[in-house]
C-alpha cells in the first residue's frame, strides 16, 4: 500500500507507517488502555443489584494494553467480553473502577477518548440501504474528515481489503456478510484510531474472509501505529494475532500472558487446554450467566 503524506492537522492515516515500535512511545507515556478493578452488574427483571438474580457481568477486571500491542481477550459467549468492550468504548458506564485510554479517563474525558478510539462489533452496523461509500463518507464526517479527504482513503482501504471498487456504490444490504464486516473494519480505520476495539470481528465469516481480515489486522500491527484490543472465542485467531492474551471467565480475568507463556505456565499442549484447565469448560460453551442486559 502506498505511503501517503499527511497534511498539517490532518488525522493520521492508516496508510502511514508506525512512528514507534510496538510497546514503544515515550518512556513514561501512559499505556494505550488501562483498566483498574472494573465492575459492572446488571439488573434482572427490574430488580436492583444485589437482589437475587442480578448478573455480575464484569467482576473486578484490571488489564493494561501497551501502545502498538495486539491484546486478545478470550472468553466464551457471555463471559463479559462485549460488556468490557462497551465500557472501553464509552457506550456503557462501569459501576466501579477506572478506565483510561492514553491516560484519559473514559468518563471525565469522554469526547477526547472518542477521538482516539474506534470499534468494530460482531454485527456490521450500517445504514443498509446506503452504499458502502455513503456510509463511509458519513463515518468520515463524524470524525471530522471531509469527503475530499475521505474518498481516496476509502478507496485505498477497500482495495487493501480486497473489495471490488465497482461495488462501493451498491446498497450494503446487497453485499455479503463478509464484505459488510470488511467495510466495518474499513470504517474503523478511516478515522485512524490510536486504539482499535475489535469485538469478535471475524465471527460468522467464511474461512477466506476470516483469513483476509486477520491478515489485515496483523499487517496493521506490523506496519502502522495502531493498538488493538481484540475479543474472540476463536483460540486459533487469538494465538495468531495477539501479542498477549487475557482469558475472561465469569466476568473475571483469570489468566494473562503470551500464548506460549500461558501454555508453559499451565503445562498444557495448547491454548484450548489452558482454557479448559482454567474455566472447566470448552470455549464454545456459553457462560451460564448469559449476557443479561448487555
Amino acid at each position: 500500500m502506498a505511503i501517503q503524506v499527511r497534511e498539517q492537522n490532518e488525522p493520521r492515516s492508516i496508510a502511514e507507517p508506525r512512528s514507534a515500535h510496538r510497546g514503544g512511545g515515550a518512556p513514561h507515556a501512559p499505556p494505550a488502555l488501562e483498566a483498574r478493578d472494573v465492575r459492572k452488574v446488571f439488573r434482572v427483571g427490574g430488580r436492583r443489584p444485589p437482589a437475587p438474580g442480578h448478573v455480575r457481568a464484569i467482576d473486578g477486571v484490571s488489564l493494561r494494553v501497551d501502545r502498538g500491542e495486539i491484546y486478545g481477550l478470550l472468553g466464551a459467549n457471555g463471559s463479559g467480553k462485549s460488556t468490557l468492550i462497551r465500557v472501553f468504548s464509552t457506550l456503557l458506564t462501569a459501576d466501579a473502577g477506572e478506565v483510561r485510554v492514553f491516560g484519559l479517563d473514559v468518563r471525565a474525558d469522554e469526547l477526547a477518548v472518542k477521538r482516539l478510539i474506534n470499534r468494530v462489533s460482531v454485527e456490521a452496523s450500517f445504514f443498509k440501504k446506503l452504499s458502502a461509500m455513503e456510509n463511509l463518507v458519513y463515518a468520515g464526517r463524524l470524525y471530522g474528515v471531509g469527503p475530499e479527504a475521505s474518498r481516496p482513503r476509502i478507496h485505498a482501504i477497500l482495495r487493501r481489503l480486497g473489495i471490488d471498487a465497482g461495488r462501493v456504490h451498491e446498497p450494503l444490504e446487497k453485499l455479503s456478510r463478509g464484505m459488510q464486516q470488511k467495510i466495518a473494519i474499513a470504517r474503523a480505520f478511516l478515522s485512524a484510531p490510536m486504539l482499535l476495539l475489535l469485538d469478535e470481528p471475524t465471527t460468522g465469516l467464511d474461512i477466506r474472509s476470516k483469513r483476509e481480515v486477520q491478515t489485515f489486522v496483523r499487517d496493521l500491527r506490523d506496519e502502522h501505529d495502531a493498538t488493538i484490543l481484540l475479543t474472540t472465542h476463536d483460540l486459533d485467531e487469538a494465538s495468531r494475532l495477539a501479542d498477549r492474551i487475557g482469558i475472561l471467565h465469569g466476568g473475571r480475568l483469570v489468566a494473562e500472558g503470551a500464548s506460549e507463556e500461558l501454555t508453559a505456565r499451565h503445562g498444557a499442549a495448547s491454548l484450548e487446554d489452558v482454557f479448559m484447565a482454567l474455566t472447566g469448560r470448552h470455549i464454545d460453551e456459553a457462560d451460564e450467566r448469559g449476557e443479561a442486559e448487555t
Partner: protein
Amino acid sequence: MIASVGGQLGLAYAFVEREIALSKRYWAWELVWLVYGIVTSLSVAYIGLAAPAIAGASVDEAAISRFVLYLLVGTITWRFLGLIFEQMGETIAWERWEGTIEYTFMAPVPRLTHLLGMCGATLVRALAFSVAILAAVALFVPVDLSNANVASALVLLATGAVAFIGLAIGSAVFPLLWTEKGLQMAYIVQAVVLLVSGVYYPTSVLPEWMQLLSVISPATYVIRGMRAALLDGADVGGVWPDLWPALLVGAVSIPLGLRLFVWAERYAKRTGRLKRSG
C-alpha cells in the same frame, strides 16, 4: 472560535447529508408519506367546501373560502410541526433498528452538535413536505391568499420550528430509553398535542382542563398566529401576542429538552440500554 464553529457545523451537516441520502434511497416511502399528506390535507379542505351541505344551511362564498383556508392553515402548519416532532423520535428508534445507534453515540460529536444536525435534517424534510403539500392542494382547491401577510407567517413558522425542536428533543428521550415502547410514548404525546393545539378548531371549544394543556403547547400559538397572518393579514406586531409565548416555550423547551436528553443518555449508558435492537 470561527474554525471551531465551522467544525461543529461540518459535524452537524453529517446528519443532514445522511438523512438526505436515506430519503433518496427510501424514495418510494417518501412518496407514500407525501401522497398521504396531500390526501389528508385535501380531505380536510373538502370538509370546508362541504360545510353548507353538511350544516344544511346556505353560507356565503367568502365565509366558505375563509373556512377552507382556516382548516388548511391548521393542517399544513401541523404537518410541518408534526414532522419535526415525529422525525426526531423516529431517528433514534431508526438507528436502533438499523443497528447504528452505538456507532453514532460513540463518535466524537458533542451531543448538542448531534442534535443540532438532526434538527437541521428534520427542518429540511418538514419544509420540503409542507411546501409540496401546499402546492399540490392549491391545484385542487381555490386558496385565497390575497389578504395574507407572508412575512409574519414565515416569522411565526420559524419561531414555531424552534419551539417545537425543544419538544421534539424531549420526545426523542423516550425511544432512547425504551426500544419500542419509547416510540409509542412519543406518538401519544404528539397525538395529545394535536388534540389540544387547535389545529382544526379554536381551543375555546375544548373542555377547560384541555384548554390548560393548550396553553403549554407551542403549536397553539403558532397555528393561531398563522391564521391571523394568512387570513387577516396581521403583521409581526399584530401576531406578537402569539409570537412571544411561542418564543418563550422555545426558550424553555430547548435547554430543558437538551438537559433531558443528556440525562437520558447517561441513564442509558448506566443501564446498558444504549444498544441496537435485533
